[in-house]
Symmetry: C2
Subunit: 463 residues, 2 copies
């Protein structure tokens, strides 16, 4: 960043902050341009530019020639990245708030497909085994027994040599992403995201003030030359990616590209944040091994949340990295953030996780989800919409006819009790598009069939 | 902050960051002063100054006249506030890591004094009542039933008119403090802390890059004129305080000062962050009502963790504020940070909390802790050390003879299997002092008696 940008941002941030915290109230007069220029030791033009942008954004107004004043009323449309660093709005959660009959927006698994009863049994076992579990804090890094069990699984399954010290237990993958952003990204650092990407991750990195560069993800993976160019030119701090049954597209990056990407990451010292939420939800064959398994120099931070398809309510995920300095930074942030995840939840998860029930559950779940996916695709086959049928995961990434505004469609759709995620929300650059995400994991078979048909009718009537 | 400071910090941060993330490795040559000056568009003197400070801190070294190089080896002693914003070291947790027989450093309650068995009963009840509790996410704000129950309690006990929308459930008070820092404090914002203060809170605000101003807390409370002067001169964003059985001192701010402080906060638009961890642990009479109860304009954010003395393992606390805009900001951060606390933990807590057992437990606990406090004081009465006997809380704040270094004493003490918290750790300014904190809540009566005597002998032999 150049100095001039910084000085501009400084003034802009200063004013926004005072208004948002109510220090400067509605219709209160702002300091004069001359005064702020002196206070901040900047050119008056810099202050003027900041005031002009604030005026454009309806945060302040000018009156005759008497000066600038704080605008009254709510200001909802804060798409400016600097501003969103403050308001930190989580768009997706707004959509989820609307109760609907045909829930295609939440990439969550239907609670009826989850092993509630078995886990309840394990809870009783946990209290017998650890009578003081509720009066004990976990360590910051997480329960040792659980970390051992997770690294054993990983080592057996992928022939890696991970040890429990390389794992950190987090409150869901959301917290894992947030810890990484806090530890390694500062305002104005450049980071690389897939386009489209997981919307909550976009929100976290934007809130951290990151400068976001994107690379497209295709059904065949990435354009690696483009990635190398970006790594060389922009030196991104990290690349957050979702290479297996990618959210929202469902695409899977092939093994050869995984290997090459890890090499690029080593060469350009760019951390790869591999968010592996859907690996086990495959419909025919197991996907290629995680990038983490190709990593020999600690450039991959691997995030996994089994809980999505076991027990979302426990909020247990973990991250993994082999560089002690990286783990040390993450532990420091975790200790500040919540000082360790609840021990009870970790022990409950451990006992279910290390039982044979897990494998049985996941096998049944794959079939149930594949059926739901096929029902949705069957209904959609009556249209000329485009999508690539995914081999796993929870979502279809569908392209509607070009002339539709997905914003208008969403509003109408919610009125008809159908929800979906407009592609724009998954776009780090937030450009309008005719793509949308339909999740087939939450609604039951009947709802998927009826809801998809209703949705198709709605779209056709909107054309 | 002046522009020159900013430019200096920018260069300094840039270099530290590259080294810490391994982009610039050991013994690698740094960019020349001339080059960095051009890249950042600053005067060469600014770069030189940053390099000089980095050299002083043993992060880089210079070789003849050929330039500057990255220093090798671990750099542990990073007391510089800019640096600690990166390493975010949590000092207290280092002390707690050492296993000792006489545990006087952790302000935690002896698990034997906690109602483990009863809570286990409630867990079974919770699974009967909410069979799908493990497959359901909580809302970001927290379980409605729990928030209702907590606000009912508050309204009945203090005649307030809080409603559930004014509460946010957090993963312990650590997370509450962190959310507040993330939502309202930016790097270089000024905040006000008590001196001494809760060390984890100090760490959070330092990590956020806050500029910290302090006000002393005395057995009679604060010097309010000093606070008014600070609010007027420094315009702190917030004042984090712990007015009831203050940690570490045990002092309680009188009712009249609470009222006046709320008025000052309103007048100078300074948020008061009232961390009320110890209110219910009183030994004779109930302390004055929280500052929150005097607040009519939403300037107080109240933090409460009942869990400390009920079930630390659940990690449930809450914060409370009546300004919708403040709650909105906090919710946005919470959704980015972990998207809501686990529902299971909230429901378990709710059912114990709304039972009559809670009151019985707390009454017994007060007596047990008072006895432990008196045993420790009885032993200490053989010395000429100074302390003000607290009317509640978990700690004694003790002044040793001046000539002792608490650092040396801590090392020696840990060797003798006794732990305590040196006053310096609780000092936002991190100055050496002869104060220390002895917690009487974790060790049992026998351990307190023997351990305190051993500790006294140790101190006397060190004089």
């Amino acid at each position: 960043m150049r100095k001039a940008d910084y000085l501009f941002n400084q003034i802009y941030d200063y004013v926004v902050n005072r208004i948002e915290l109510g220090e400067w109230r509605e219709d209160e007069k702002l300091p004069s341009i001359r005064k702020l220029a002196v206070d901040f030791d900047v050119h008056r033009l810099t202050v003027l530019k900041a005031y002009q942008l604030l005026k454009q954004e309806n945060r302040i107004y000018s009156k005759d020639k008497s000066g600038y004043y704080v605008q009254s009323g709510e200001r909802e449309n804060l798409e400016n990245p600097i501003v969103s660093a403050y308001v930190q709005k989580n768009h997706l959660s707004e959509i989820h708030k609307v109760p609907v009959s045909y829930q295609f927006s939440q990439a969550l698994i239907d609670p009826n497909l989850l092993p509630n009863r078995y886990i309840s049994d394990y809870v009783k076992k946990v209290f017998d085994l650890y009578p003081k579990v509720l009066s004990t804090y976990s360590t910051v890094q997480g329960d040792e027994e659980l970390r051992q069990s997770l690294s054993d699984y990983f080592n057996q399954h992928y022939q890696t040599i991970t040890n429990p010290d390389q794992l950190l237990i987090t409150a869901g993958s959301q917290q894992a992403i947030h810890l990484i952003a806090q530890a390694f990204v500062k305002a104005r650092d450049t980071i690389l995201l897939e386009r489209p990407s997981y919307s909550s991750a976009i929100d976290v990195f934007r809130a951290q003030g990151a400068n976001i560069v994107t690379v497209d993800i295709h059904p065949f993976g990435y354009d690696l030359e483009q990635i190398e160019f970006i790594m060389k030119e922009h030196k991104p701090r990290l690349f957050y990616l979702n290479p297996t049954f990618h959210n929202p597209t469902g695409y899977t990056v092939p093994a050869e590209q995984r290997k090459q990407l890890v090499q690029l990451a080593e060469q350009y010292r760019c951390l790869l944040i591999e968010d592996d939420a859907y690996y086990d939800i495959y419909f025919d064959q197991e996907p290629p091994p995680p990038m983490y398994t190709y990593d020999t120099s600690g450039m991959v931070i691997y995030i996994k949340s089994f809980c999505k398809y076991i027990s979302p309510g426990l909020r247990i995920a973990f991250l993994m990295n082999s560089q002690p300095s990286v783990m040390k930074s993450l532990l420091s942030v975790k200790s500040l953030v919540d000082n360790g995840s609840p021990l009870l939840n970790q022990k409950i998860f451990l006992h279910y996780y290390s039982s044979s029930r897990l494998q049985q559950h996941v096998e049944k779940l794959r079939i149930a989800l594949q059926i739901r996916k096929e029902i949705m695709e069957e209904e959609l086959s009556a249209t000329d919409w485009q999508w690539t049928s995914p081999n796993g995961g929870l979502n279809l990434w569908v392209r509607l006819p070009n002339q539709l505004s997905t914003d208008d469609l969403l509003a109408k759709s919610l009125e008809h009790s159908i929800s979906f995620v407009p592609g724009q929300i998954c776009d780090p650059l937030k450009e309008p598009s005719s793509w949308l995400r339909l999740s087939y994991s939450f609604a039951n078979e009947e709802q998927i069939s009826v809801g998809t048909r209703k949705f198709i009718d709605l779209v056709h009537s909107s054309l």
